[in-house]
């Protein structure tokens, strides 16, 4: 990802900030400038909302491929997390044995390195998920 794009999205990626439509109440993550349901009624009115970081595994997959930058983490878990605020968020689940992940598993967001642009480029930080403590 190029530096300006990462910079533009840093607040959402660091702190899970989305937007809420004040007309219908739907929460979006990543944030949207316009609510697709309410159209022009929502223009200029979308409110920022910080998600709690809580959620449950909606679905997941275990990646065994040598994806660039993820070789040292494989096999790793990518999941869709259903949040109590509404949005479903795609993210990695870490600090877990892949065979222990299951649909419905409670997780919460943590702050991790997501990617880095080679050895000399910027480090991109953002959210991943870990299982809730028992």
């Amino acid at each position: 990802m190029v530096v300006p794009r990462f910079w533009r999205e840093r607040r959402y990626r660091y702190s899970l900030i989305g937007t809420r439509c004040p007309v219908c109440g739907t929460v979006y993550f990543p944030p949207r400038d316009v609510c697709p349901k309410c159209g022009r009624e929502s223009v200029g009115k979308m409110e920022e909302v910080q998600l709690s970081g809580k959620g449950k595994v909606y679905s997941y997959t275990v990646v065994h491929q040598n994806v660039l930058g993820y070789k040292y983490q494989k096999p790793y878990v990518m999941a869709i997390i259903e949040t109590p605020e509404g949005p479903k968020i795609t993210g990695q689940i870490v600090d877990v044995d892949p065979e222990k992940v299951h649909i419905g598993m409670p997780v919460h967001a943590v702050f991790r390195r997501i990617a880095e642009d080679g050895k000399a480029g910027i480090i991109q930080y953002g959210y991943k998920f870990v299982p809730d403590e028992k």
């Binding site: 983490q73 600090d95 930080y125």
Partner: protein, 347 residues
């Protein structure tokens, strides 16, 4: 009253047993436990660094008591493993908490940059320049594979928010002692640090810790028996007991704040996390002395009294230090090398 308003720590989940490291390097498995008092050390995950540890520690502090970003006037992050050589960790912290009007800077002083951060924030609050400030000690320290430091260099961190309102632990006094003592260093561009072996003991750790502890007790008019807890910098599991004995402290005063036997030396996170473990169990009226040490060399000492506000403070809102010490996933030496990016590949 100026002191700690909230605090939080973070220790990565991964551990490597020191016996596993000994096996790799042909030492007797019991050697690190017997010689250094170290059973295991924490290891950062592949996607963790000093900045992610700092953020997690700070978020734990904010779970216990939320201080809005606009009220934060200063952010100091002490570490010897800042992810960038040039680009501050403190600006990332400012972004995470929305503290856009804060004075932000990174500090480095081997293992005492965390307490140096605490002193800077304390001074700014006490001077009336700011209402609240964040001080963080965080590290993912590295020892040369096969070196004695391979047994101890670990990862963890603690964040303190210091202010004047609703103080849970008052900082009564703080002093420092510093000399130019080359006991441990890392030259620019070098991947691993070097050290003076036994020279790191007597003229470095013991001289500086004892000097600042004695200066502090003289300033405060206190004696070792006036304190309920003492926290020393913990490069291994033995130095804190040894220096404590020489200063006149009992093992009972030391043990609650000594976590290095289980997680190793978290460098800038060391004394701040030991203090965090004590605050996890301290009661109003308890008096604590915390003494850091940073190679190169210096020591910061703090005289702290837990206030009545601790009773209404929500300590249980975030994991306590011992909770995180006890939740551990053990890895082997090969996985440790992988997580620490020590495997050399062609570019």
């Amino acid at each position: 009253m100026t002191g700690i308003v909230t605090y939080g720590s973070y220790i990565p989940i991964y551990r490597i047993k020191t016996a596993e490291i000994a096996k790799m390097w042909g030492d007797k498995p019991e050697h690190p436990e017997k010689g250094l008092g170290l059973l295991a050390k924490s290891v950062p995950g592949y996607d963790e660094d000093a900045a992610t540890i700092a953020v997690e520690a700070l978020r734990n502090a904010l779970k216990r008591k939320n201080i809005p970003g606009e009220k934060i006037g200063a952010i100091f992050v002490g570490s010897e493993s800042h992810p960038y050589a040039v680009k501050p960790t403190a600006s990332l912290i400012a972004e995470v908490v929305g503290a856009y009007k804060a004075h932000a800077a990174d500090l480095e002083f081997a293992c005492k940059a965390g307490t140096a951060a605490m002193q800077n924030v304390y001074a700014m609050v006490k001077a009336g320049m700011i209402d609240y400030g964040i001080a963080i000690g965080t590290d993912t320290s590295q020892g040369q594979p096969g070196d004695a430091l391979d047994y101890s260099a670990s990862a963890g961190g603690t964040a303190y928010i210091i202010g004047k309102e609703d103080v849970i632990a008052e900082i009564n006094h703080t002093v420092s002692f510093v000399t130019d003592t080359p006991d441990f260093w890392r030259r620019e561009g070098q991947r691993y640090p070097s050290h003076g072996g036994r020279f790191t003991g007597e003229p470095a750790y013991f001289k500086h810790v004892m000097s600042s502890a004695k200066m502090l007790m003289e300033k405060a008019g206190t004696k070792p028996e006036d304190y309920d807890y003492v926290v020393f910098h913990q490069p291994n599991g033995k130095f804190p007991y040894r220096v404590g004995k020489r200063l006149g402290f009992s093992n009972d005063q030391i043990k609650s704040g000594l976590i290095s036997p289980y997680i190793g030396n978290t460098y800038s996170g060391g004394t701040p996390t030991g203090l965090s473990a004590v605050l996890d169990i301290a009661k109003p009226g308890d008096r604590i002395i915390a003494v850091s040490f940073g190679s190169g060399a210096g020591s910061d000492a703090f005289d702290i009294t837990v206030t009545d506000k601790m009773d209404s403070y929500n300590r249980d809102a975030a994991p306590k230090v011992m909770d995180m010490v006890n939740r551990a996933k053990y890895i082997d030496y090969a996985t440790y090398l992988k997580f620490r990016r020590m495997i050399v590949e062609v570019d």
